[in-house]
């Protein structure tokens, strides 16, 4: 696999506040990599550091297996945090600046505006756009110069459901075209629908990293109730029955090993002397899994 991005032990502080610490992961060519985490978890900081706009306090990163330079930056299209354009310039003029920096053809400007559904607004000043249109303008600027890698930080911010779907389709079409995409988001649905891989950050730490299916799979969970839930959790943990067991409100949630089912769990509880007052099998939502990971 061709490595596009390699991050090693990256750390960044804002004064005494730790934004990220020892974050390490890699992104390979063609992956759609999601960075997931609650607000303030360090997603934007990580992206800002690897794009050279924040200086790291520790660690290192490489793009395209080379030290980062302005030439590697031109192979990347990035939207970080908020759309940053000159409000007194038209969309065309703003994108002309981007095209000049990237040594891209000016023909790209119309294509990008077309993809972002902003062609009719090309002579409108950026400052006169709505928040959703500004976000779409950012998507257009990211596409200038046909970059190999797209970095999108909260790309659906401020978009209505229609715009949300449009952006998702743009991302999927770019992924189909073989581009590597890194998306930071706190919207699980967004990540699940478009990403192949995911890194989960919490308070500046990378707490999980891998394929979406492995980390955030919609696997079955058995919810049971008994009079002594703590003892039951202990017993299940001591057995080889479950991948995971944890209290969930008044229930005990059990993610069984692959070859077992709820009947096996019921039998185990009976043999151990636990009387179950409830047994329910349901798919655990992505949100539940995410909240559990960041708990």
């Amino acid at each position: 696999m061709e490595k596009v991005l390699q991050i090693n032990n990256l750390s960044k502080n804002y004064g005494n506040i730790r934004a990220i610490e020892n974050v390490s992961f890699e992104v390979n060519k063609g992956e759609v990599y999601g960075m997931l985490g609650p607000n303030g978890s360090g997603k934007t900081t990580t992206l800002a550091v690897i794009m050279g706009i924040l200086n790291a306090n520790g660690g290192s990163y490489e793009w395209f297996e080379q030290p980062f330079s302005k030439f590697s930056r031109r192979r990347i299209g990035a939207l970080i945090e908020t759309p940053n354009f000159y409000p007194y310039l038209t969309l065309w003029e703003n994108l002309k600046i981007v095209a000049k920096i990237k040594d891209a053809d000016e023909k790209d400007i119309n294509n990008a505006l077309g993809v972002a559904n902003l062609l009719k607004r090309k002579h409108t000043n950026f400052g006169h756009l709505s928040l959703g249109m500004k976000q779409r303008m950012s998507i257009a600027s990211v596409l200038i110069g046909n970059p190999e890698v797209l970095i999108l930080d909260e790309p659906t911010n401020g978009l209505d459901p229609e715009g949300f779907a449009e952006v998702r389709n743009i991302i999927l079409s770019q992924a189909d075209a073989g581009k590597t995409i890194i998306i930071a988001s706190h919207i699980l649905d967004e990540v699940e629908k478009v990403c192949t891989h995911v890194a989960i950050l919490k308070s500046g730490d990378l707490i999980a990293n891998g394929r979406v299916g492995e980390l955030l799979s919609s696997e079955e969970t058995v919810f049971i109730q008994t009079e002594k839930p703590e003892d039951l959790i202990m017993s299940i943990k001591e057995s080889n029955l479950a991948k995971e067991v944890y209290p969930s409100d008044e229930d005990v949630a059990v993610v069984l090993n692959a070859d077992l089912n709820s009947g096996d769990l019921n039998k185990f509880c009976f043999e151990k002397g636990f009387t179950l007052t409830k047994i329910q099998v349901r798919k655990q939502s992505l949100e539940d899994q995410f909240l559990q990971l960041v708990k």
Binding site: G52, R73, Y86, K96
Partner: protein, 274 residues
Amino acid sequence: MKKLFNLEKIKALSYPPFKTLMIIHFLLFFLVILVVSQLHFTIPGFSIKGLYQFPNIWEFFPWVASWFNIFLTIVLITLVGNEFAYKTFRQNVIDGLDRTDLIKGKLIMILTVALYTFIMVLVAILIFGLIFSKDFSFTIIFENSYLILIYFVQAIGYMTLGLLFAILFRNTALSIILFLVYFPIEGIIRLFFKAEFRAYFPIKIISNLTPRPEFLTMTSEKSYTNASGTSSLDLSEIGIVPENLPLGITVVLAAGYIGFFIALSTILLKRKNL
């Protein structure tokens, strides 16, 4: 360099306040020199018309224009301040510029604006000089013409100091206020130093590049000859240490300060987060 020039061109020429302020600068300069040219008063050994004749005009026009260099610096600070306010410096870096490219772009802007004001003053000198002069011999016309090049250095000096303020404070209004306040503050600070050291402060050095024309002062503070031929009092002869250095040394020191302002701006922009 061409790319950076084109980028700055788009950013500045499409910015309405830039165009407005440049037009105001142009009109103010010509208004002042036109109004002064119409004043009629005579003092023995001095006449207003003499200021508009070669070679005096090479001293007088850059001195008048030097007051408006502060105006140009404010324009420059506004342009740099915008880059921080709109976070476009940061977007330019994301898109593929180096932080040093950002500084180079603004230096190109400074050189372009300095060149504009240089040409404006040069054209004004040639027009008014040819209208008001009586002696059109080559030596008279071009005597002291090098002073306009020194004016060009001064324009760059003020604007590089403005660039430093804009990068240091990252806020247009604050940078402009502090830049303007720095003039009297430096004046006060200078008072705490011995006379021989006062001439080495940055604003003193830069403003002395276009000193008040000698024929408008009573004191001989410069090394070059009194162009109007009027007599003046040399303070050093009566034991007072003049605060101004010879013009050649002033130019060298100004160039040193310009280099220092650029270096410091570059270091600040490289080290601070965008």
